[in-house]
Symmetry: none
Subunit: 283 residues, 2 copies
DNA sequence: AAGATATTTTGAAAATTTTTTTCAAAAATA
DNA sequence: TATTTTTGAAAAAAATTTTCAAAATATCTT
């Protein structure tokens, strides 16, 4: 949807001099309109009220009221400034707000480094895999578990291994047609990298999900899915990159459901109905 | 800044029955107010116009006009796009892009229903807890595991139980000074609700993380942390609400680290250095 | 427990403010 | 100069806010 400012810019040539005064004032004082009545604005712009209504109509709105409402909506997004670091005086709610900013930024960045081709390939390989094993340790363990959960719901044969011994064993027992997925933010987790290497040697297809850049895990991966987050503080948790990882798995899961044969879709419906008896209320 | 919805929730007890009708209607039809005049809203709520003005004033606003403007601002993110449906012709990358939109919207919405007071209370209770148990089943299991992982890193005594029998047992063995956290998007997962109820009976402090609205789990929780996502499609995965849950836990974790005594901070540093030997490269 | 009194809550109607429409004058264009 | 377009003051309409008395509720008294 075209924004108000953009519309103003586009329609500017068609306006008369009085309407242009309104356009100019609004361009300079966008949000300020929210607190003004139509005649206050008319005074500021040096024009009549009727001209303001006409101006609003030109933008495709019903009148001044709607103009104000629309600008209120649009300025809500713009208003936020860009500070990141958590201060020791921050309330927990403050920290939450900063975190969700981080997440939004990381997701946008990931969009720029995630290859459309690679993720499409990954989704299809997983969809048709005989067996899927997912490796994640420590911080990435919950991502692996989450992915397992999703794939199981889609009727796939998936297991997450979050223990380095189990990973090594599982990797060595794979075959051609199987898929091994390694999750590691740094791409340098010894055990996960080794497990992926082993998996590849068995003939399995290997996929990694890791932060953008050179890393050991890429060398052992047939398909590389990159995230991108510029975390500097508390990087151990790599919170926002993990959200990006989750989003990638979610997209793959959704894709598989959409492209699956009836049986797999039924598996999802089955999973949902199975849950109903476990709820006090029926959603 | 406290959101309108939060203010409504907080001031609800002080309202008379007519004002509550407005509060209820608004909670259910938040954005819809933008298109309504005061008497249209009065009709819908079954009350007089004056009551709506009084209601607005109670929220600290000058009147109905400002209420409408404020809601327009807050619903800006929600209003755009809404829930983006995934089409069967979408590429995996397309789906990813739609997903990250959903996530951004859910996070913004959660900001408006998450009570600053409650999350602050939760963080402090957890920080000083003798023992923390976290309950999550199915979809919420990975969130519980993630939270456990974070709290362990902060040097806290935390365990996640993702099995209904273990949850029941663990809950019954708590004491005053312990904290039980239940994670459930619907707030209606029988086993988690029961475990939280049991936990409370032992004298433990109970916290729930659930989607905004009435739900069984609230009744057994001393502290309620709300998320908000309007998922209609693929609601079984409740993806975006889970991201919001993760962000809440992350904020609490970060807050605890910031406010902990030296020992706990050292515990984090310890955890980080312990990981270094497990990496091929040093970050 | 019943009744009386005070307080609070409420909405209809009046008052006010805001927005929109009308229309003739001014400006621009042909 | 004639025609069209643009404009704003004033009128009309609509929306919002205020006032105030009735209704509901709570508190006190006996």
């Amino acid at each position: 949807m075209e924004s108000i400012l953009l519309k103003i810019k586009r329609l500017y040539p068609e306006m008369g001099s009085s309407e242009r005064k309104i356009a100019d004032w609004l361009t300079a004082n966008f949000q300020e309109i929210i607190g003004l009545s139509i005649n206050e604005l008319a005074t500021r712009c040096g024009c009549g009220e009727a001209t303001i209504v006409r101006f609003s109509r030109r933008l495709g709105l019903s009148g001044y009221q709607e103009l104000k409402l629309k600008i209120a909506q649009e300025s809500a997004n713009t208003a936020q400034g860009g500070v990141l670091g958590v201060e020791s005086t921050d309330s927990c709610y403050d920290i939450f707000n900063k975190r969700i900013r981080d997440i939004a930024v990381a997701l946008e960045n990931t969009k720029t480094v995630l290859s459309p081709d690679e993720i499409e390939k990954a989704a299809n390989v997983i969809k048709d895999a005989r067996r899927i094993v997912i490796f994640g340790l420590g911080n990435s363990a919950s991502i692996a578990v989450d992915a397992q959960h999703k794939f199981l719901r889609a009727g796939l044969d998936a297991i997450a291994y979050c223990d380095n011994h189990m990973q090594a064993i599982a990797a060595s027992h794979l075959h051609k047609g199987d898929v091994a997925i390694g999750v590691s933010h740094s791409g340098a987790s010894i055990d996960v990298v080794d497990a992926l290497k082993t998996a590849r040697e068995t003939g399995a297809t290997t996929i990694c999900i890791t932060n953008f850049g050179e890393s050991p895990i890429n060398e052992h991966s047939d398909i590389v899915l990159n995230t991108r987050s510029d975390e500097t503080k508390y990087t151990i948790l790599a919170m926002s990159s993990r959200i990006a990882q989750l989003a990638i798995f979610d997209a793959i899961y959704t894709y598989i459901v959409m492209h699956s044969n009836k049986a797999a879709v039924r598996a999802i419906k089955d999973a949902e109905t199975a849950l109903h008896s476990k709820k006090y209320i029926q959603n």
